[in-house]
């Protein structure tokens, strides 16, 4: 277990008013995984993340990283531990008056890195993030994506065990976001660094996370592997975040009554058989037409949707629904469409 938060609360006092940013929250992040936390702005994500390197002290509860209880650390010991916990930020937070090289050198200096090895370590890091030719550039002359690469190189400089990412791609365009996420995934897989990332974008979670926690009002209301979050969202907030892929609207000309119904089926993992619709045609005395369909790949596993218009005897339609409900790996989906 890389990171264990136990019953942590964090209350800020703002002008005499108490703001509960975290409410008795517990969370375990496994070693080597990429754990995503998604939530709207103000949910408490940044506060949670900042507890993990003690940029914030919890009001109560305990935080431990790779077996070390952080609350027990201070001064030099805390600084040493922090070197093993890298962090990157939405706004990159580079030292503008230092070159790319000097920015990385700074954290090596902080850790009293073996002087003779500083240069080769920086070169190694720059190669890892693909910025070898930018060593002498100033942050002001770099693009957002390049700045985040510097941020990543800096965060990795002292061989951390954990990398914390606070909205690391939120200031980047979609293409750059993809390349940065790929880089983070590579770092996770190749260097075995545990990553905790927070975001308000489901795309980011879908792209990179192994497991995900959904956060709202200082609590984690749902936690599971990413595929399940998409295929079986439970909490209303989770449904809101995955709603895009469930967003099928029912064409206006379709009448809904006992003899005419719209059924959206959800195909899970590889269970979906290609000839499933064929089976429906064959086994049921109904008119079936396809209205809409889509396949999402989540962690390379397909999650498919097919929206069907079924017309026939009410009894036959009921039988068809029951058949779908009994089919393995196939479910009826709740959709978020309003009938126009």
């Amino acid at each position: 277990m890389a990171i264990v938060l136990e019953d942590v609360s964090k209350t800020y006092e703002v002008k005499g008013r108490k703001v509960e940013a975290l409410k008795r929250l517990s969370l375990t992040v496994e070693e080597g995984e990429i754990f995503g936390i998604i939530g709207f702005s103000g949910a408490g994500k940044s506060t949670l993340l900042r507890l993990i390197n003690l940029l914030e002290q919890p009001s109560s509860g305990s935080v431990s990283v790779n077996g070390t209880e952080l609350g027990a650390l201070s001064g030099e010991k805390l600084r040493t531990k922090r070197k093993k916990i890298g962090m990157i930020f939405q706004q990159f937070n580079l030292i503008e008056s230092k070159t790319v090289y000097q920015n990385i050198e700074f954290v090596l200096k902080a850790s009293k890195y073996e002087k003779k090895e500083v240069k080769s370590r920086i070169e190694e890091l720059l190669a890892l993030v693909g910025l070898s030719d930018k060593a002498d550039s100033y942050p002001g002359n770099l693009s957002g994506g390049q700045k985040q690469r510097v941020g990543i190189a800096r965060a990795l400089a002292n061989h951390p065990e954990v990398l914390l990412c606070d909205e690391a791609t939120s200031a980047l365009d979609p293409d750059t976001t993809k390349t940065i996420l790929k880089l983070l995934k590579k770092i996770n897989r190749e260097l075995g660094i545990t990553i905790v990332l927070i975001t308000h974008e489901m795309e980011v979670i879908k792209e990179i996370a192994d497991r995900v926690g959904v956060m709202t009002a200082g609590e984690i209301v749902e936690e599971s592997d990413v595929y399940s979050i998409f295929s079986h969202p439970g909490h209303a907030v989770t449904k809101g975040f995955v709603q895009d892929i469930y967003d099928f609207s029912i064409p206006p000309h379709i009448q809904l009554n006992d003899n005419s119904d719209v059924i959206t089926i959800k195909f899970l993992n590889e269970n979906a058989e290609a000839n499933y619709v064929n089976q429906l045609y064959r086994h049921f005395d109904c008119d079936i037409s396809i209205l809409n369909g889509r396949i999402e790949y989540i962690q390379d596993m397909p999650l498919g949707f097919l929206m069907l218009h079924v017309q026939g005897e009410a009894q036959e339609i009921t039988r068809l629904k029951a058949f779908i409900d009994e089919s393995k790996g196939i479910e009826r989906a709740e959709i978020y469409a309003e009938t126009i």
Partner: protein, 219 residues
């Protein structure tokens, strides 16, 4: 024209005196004002070294000194200046008061330029395990370099302005010359010559300051 050649030696001497006073005062303003500015900043910043009472005491002292009209400051610290310089007049003697006036001014300018350093970059440095000392020397000061350079420029110009009053303790200098000859004796030529000299000096300081600031933009 003849009057002008008469006052040239006077001007020259005044120029030397001003240079001496400014040099001594800016030296101490930076030597003491920079650490004071750093202290003012870090004792107010919850990320770094917040000690509210200390910050309030330092802030109060700074404000009190800055509220003194310069002429009163000179008189008030006369005993200290006498003890320090072993004299009771002259440019070196005047430099004590000038330094004391310039230190809190520069400290506040330093503090202001630190306030312009992003909270994020400080947090990133802390997250990277940097010590307070390293953050001061390698983040705060380099990031605030432009503001600090501008602060030095502004402080020098303020010292030149203050130094006009230095005449009351025989400090001399160009400002003093302007007041003594130009103002009290209605000597228009000297007055114009000294004012022009002052304008040139201030312009020059500003130009050099701006040049150095621009050179430090980091790229």
């Amino acid at each position: 024209m003849q009057r002008l050649s008469e006052i040239t030696p006077l001007l020259y001497r005044a120029l030397l005196e001003t240079t001496l006073m400014v040099s001594i005062s800016i030296f101490f303003a930076v030597l003491i004002g920079l650490p004071l500015g750093i202290l003012l900043y870090i004792t107010a910043n919850p990320l770094l070294f917040r000690i509210k009472p200390l910050n309030q005491v330092l802030g109060a002292i700074t404000n009190v000194i800055r509220s003194f009209p310069f002429i009163i400051l000179i008189v008030a610290i006369m005993p200290v200046a006498t003890w320090l310089t072993n004299s009771s007049h002259g440019p070196v003697f005047a430099s004590v008061a000038l330094s004391i006036a310039a230190i809190p001014l520069f400290a506040r300018l330093v503090e202001t330029s630190f306030n312009g350093v992003g909270r994020g970059v400080i947090e990133a440095s802390i997250a990277g395990g940097a010590s307070l000392m390293l953050i001061i020397t390698d983040v705060l000061i380099p990031e605030a370099r432009r503001g600090i350079t501008q602060g030095i420029t502004l402080t020098i110009i303020s010292i030149i302005a203050f130094s006009a009053t230095a005449g009351v303790v025989g400090g001399g200098g160009i400002g003093d010359l302007a007041i003594r000859y130009g103002y009290y004796r209605y000597d228009t030529v000297t007055m114009i010559a000294t004012v022009v000299a002052l304008i040139i000096i201030v312009q020059l300081v500003q130009l050099i300051g701006d040049f150095l600031t621009r050179r430090q933009e980091g790229n």
